[in-house]
């Protein structure tokens, strides 16, 4: 028999520390991480149009209002993250609080949201890829290539494939890369807004609209359903902000850095969103013709239309900023559904092959490829169903974020229900904030889902008389429910609470 001197059950170093470089991120670094997760250049071009379509000039008001549920839910998130740092996902949290069925759907909601955003990110990256080439070569015809499905769909799939490959190889963005990317986005967006106001001042704006205080008044929004739709869209634009709040041991001072960074991040982001949304409306108005922000032709990708008239030859920088931020997000976002699927598979809530980890790259191998393939398939289907695929996917994404955020927030309330009354602080952070945030999100979800059945909803595309957004959003949730039942029949272990115990 061989002598094995020291045979550790758990290998001796590195893993207990999760391989994280400890205490290296200061406030500035955390702000950069937060902004890079939000990817403001991408979110603005994708969300400005659909939000204007819903709420018109009250865009700034809705953007501000959309932050409130995000803040409330993120506070709950932080508490869950502190209580269960090692499981860190909506799936495990919701399972511990509400049991396997709701937990499974929470995980599914997160996977679905990321799959949808991946297809949108790839599509936006492709649009600006061709626009950038057109601007570089001076050949406008190249920008139109993206409207040709035979060009667009294969290019998008290539972008997704590359992101998959990078994720599978376990490559990560470095500090300097993120600093450059974030600075570049902020500079270009500010440049865009300032130039727009120059045009307004000089009388060269398309439809100069004087900035009014009413734009900040959410009560001016025409109807509750428009407001609800606007809110679920604007949750998307802050999606990523909560990462600063949940940072912990990687910061130089876990007591202070996350809070300060989160505050600073939201100030920077809110500032950039305000000047850009004011600039767009002040320059282009909300009219439905020409460059107007209300023109459905412009709403899929606002900056693709407005950057050129506003920034002149420097519009190429905007294309570069959006291309780089969406391509970088594409890669970093892909990690998320892959890990959630891996976790779900590991706890026997999804087929076992999804939990395979590459021994060479230490990344989820099967789950990464599945996530990439499914978002590619989702994109192809959406693109074929709807001429306004980008618009519809962003709206459907809003629904999905409301769903899994809402579920997670309520999981927080339920999980902490016994200790919530022990102090004022716990009452506010563990009960009131997530409860209010969660209820707001669920209300937005139900209202938007109901309205989206209307075939004229959003971009106005429909399938069999039902709005595409409803088909995409609710369809994906129902598909999840079906897969869940199949899993319950074939692998009942998870649903019997054998892998994750519900805490009663």
């Amino acid at each position: 028999m061989s002598v094995r001197a020291d045979r550790p059950a758990v290998p001796e170093s590195g893993l207990s520390e999760k391989g994280l470089s400890k205490g290296t991120v200061g406030v500035l670094g955390a702000v950069v991480i937060g902004i890079s997760c939000i990817a403001p250049a991408y979110t603005l071009t994708a969300a400005l149009g659909p939000t204007v379509a819903e709420v018109g000039t009250q865009l700034p008001a809705v953007f501000i209002a959309g932050f409130l549920p995000m803040l409330l839910v993120a506070l709950g998130y932080r508490e869950l993250n502190r209580a269960m740092p090692d499981s860190g996902t909506s799936f495990t949290w919701a399972t511990r609080a509400f049991g396997p069925w709701i937990g499974w759907m929470g995980g599914w909601g997160l996977v679905a949201a990321t799959i949808i955003v991946l297809s949108n990110l790839a599509a936006v990256a492709v649009d600006f890829f061709y626009l950038l080439i057109a601007q570089m070569t001076g050949n406008d015809g190249i920008a139109d290539l993206t409207t040709n499905l035979w060009v667009n769909i294969p290019t998008t799939l290539v972008f997704l494939g590359v992101a998959c490959w990078i994720s599978y190889r376990g490559m990560e963005a470095t500090k300097s890369f993120q600093y450059v990317l974030v600075t570049f986005q902020l500079v270009v967006l500010t440049w865009f807004a300032v130039s727009a106001f120059f045009h307004v001042n000089n009388g060269t704006a398309f439809d100069a609209t004087p900035v009014s205080l009413d734009w900040f008044n959410p009560l001016e929004v025409s109807s509750f359903s428009a407001f609800a739709a606007g809110i679920s869209l604007s949750i998307f634009i802050f999606w990523g902000w909560d990462v600063t709040l949940t940072m912990n041991e990687e910061t130089t001072n876990p007591e202070k850095v996350p809070g300060r960074a989160a505050t600073l991040t939201v100030l920077v982001i809110m500032g950039i969103y305000m000047i850009c949304s004011l600039a767009v409306i002040a320059y282009a108005g909300v009219g439905t013709t020409g460059l107007g922000a209300g023109n459905p032709d412009n709403q899929e990708s606002m900056f693709a239309v407005l950057a050129e008239p506003i920034m002149g030859p420097f519009a190429i920088l905007m294309s570069l900023a959006i291309l780089s931020s969406s391509a970088a997000s594409l890669q970093s976002t892909l990690v998320s559904p892959a890990r959630t699927m891996l976790a779900m598979s590991y706890y026997k809530a999804l087929p076992p092959s999804l939990s395979r980890i590459s021994p060479r790259f230490m990344s989820p191998s099967v789950a990464t490829i599945v996530a990439g393939a499914v978002s590619g398939a989702f994109y192809v289907v959406t693109r074929l169903l709807s001429e306004n695929a980008l618009w519809d996917t962003i709206t459907a994404l809003g629904l999905m974020i409301c769903f899994y955020y809402g579920v997670t927030a309520l999981a927080c309330v339920w999980y902490f229900r016994r200790e919530a009354f022990s102090s004022v602080r716990s009452f506010l952070l563990k009960l009131l904030a997530p409860l209010v945030g969660g209820v707001i999100l669920i209300v937005m979800l139900v209202s938007t889902a109901r309205d989206s059945m209307d075939p004229d909803y959003g971009s106005g595309s429909s399938v069999a008389g039902v709005g595409t957004v409803f088909i995409l959003g609710v369809g994906v949730l129902l598909l999840g429910a079906v897969i869940m039942v199949v899993m319950r029949v074939r692998h009942p272990g998870f649903f019997k609470g054998e892998t994750i115990k519900r805490l009663r």
Partner: protein, 296 residues
């Protein structure tokens, strides 16, 4: 003998363990290193953060560690070291220095499209920077070891026709002596590489004399031969290999002192040799010649 094995939980890792066990001989100690990429906070995973990935990964690595230990043949001691590192090659070098390993052992060279073996990216990086010898196997090399029941049969040091192979001959001699194996020193000569005006037979004679002189100077017992041919590939194909034989080559003259740098000749050998290959750093002094001590 202490070996550091760059272990991956696949066929290559198993090959690396088999090779390390043969190289180390009875009573050797294997440190099985599983290196994980270091996570940078600047590549934050969003949405949802870690998703419990690090705990799942830790459990997976623990299971891999058990599998790896089960692969170690009887009579050897072994342990698993898992560490998050910024680059696998640098991590392996650091671990080798910490553990006082005499050799870093890697698994199969990747099968190249053209049917040749080429080192993977980690091996490549190690072959150009390691301060300790690096050994590499291949499916063919492992088959050769298996044919010899996992034991080495002979050590062959391959040298070129230029000066500066004292370190590699000495390293080969030490390795042979440690397991009481015969040593063969082969000079490779290719007509293509000779200075113009030289005839091959002249070169063969002078090289043979030089290597024989070196062997005498080092006071070792070795079979000195010359393999020659029109090209290097021809010269190599001229050689006969025993099952369980291991080849030892030196570093390129481009290497920094006491660092490894795989020269073009060795690179070509790597692609065609049917036996495991050990590459020795420039001016390498075996552990016995240094005073490093072995950490417990």
């Amino acid at each position: 003998m202490r070996c550091l094995v760059g272990y991956t939980a696949d066929g290559r890792g198993a090959e690396a363990i088999a090779l390390a066990a043969a190289l180390g001989g009875p009573g050797a100690h294997l440190d099985l290193a599983i290196v994980l990429p270091e996570h940078t906070p600047f590549s934050a995973v969003y949405p949802g953060g870690d998703h419990g990935y690090s705990s799942i990964l830790a459990e997976t690595v623990a299971a891999w560690a058990d599998e790896a230990l089960a692969l170690v043949p009887d009579g050897l001691t072994a342990r698993v070291l898992a560490r998050a590192v910024s680059s696998p090659a640098e991590g392996l070098i650091a671990l080798a220095q910490e553990t006082g390993a005499q050799v870093i052992v890697l698994g199969g060279r990747k099968r190249h499209v053209a049917g040749f073996f080429a080192p993977g990216s980690v091996a490549s990086a190690l072959l150009h920077s390691s301060p300790v010898p690096v050994a590499m196997g291949s499916p063919e090399a492992v088959a050769s070891l298996e044919a010899a029941a996992g034991r080495l049969s002979r050590v062959t040091v391959l040298v070129g026709n230029r000066a500066g192979h004292k370190a590699v001959v000495r390293a080969g001699a030490e390795a042979a002596a440690a397991q009481d194996l015969p040593l063969r020193v082969v000079s490779l000569l290719a007509q293509d590489d000779l200075p113009s005006g030289w005839a091959l037979h002249q070169a063969v004679e002078s090289t043979q004399a030089a290597v024989a002189g070196l062997v005498t100077e080092l006071g070792i017992d070795a079979d000195v031969t010359v393999a020659s041919g029109g090209s290097l590939d021809e010269a190599i194909s001229d050689l006969a290999w025993l099952p369980g034989e291991v080849a030892v080559v030196g570093s390129s003259r481009l290497a920094r002192k006491r660092r490894l740098f795989l020269g073009p000749t060795a690179q070509r050998m790597l692609r065609t040799l049917p036996v495991p290959l050990v590459v020795v750093p420039k001016s390498y002094k075996p552990a016995s010649a240094r005073n490093e001590g072995t950490p417990t």
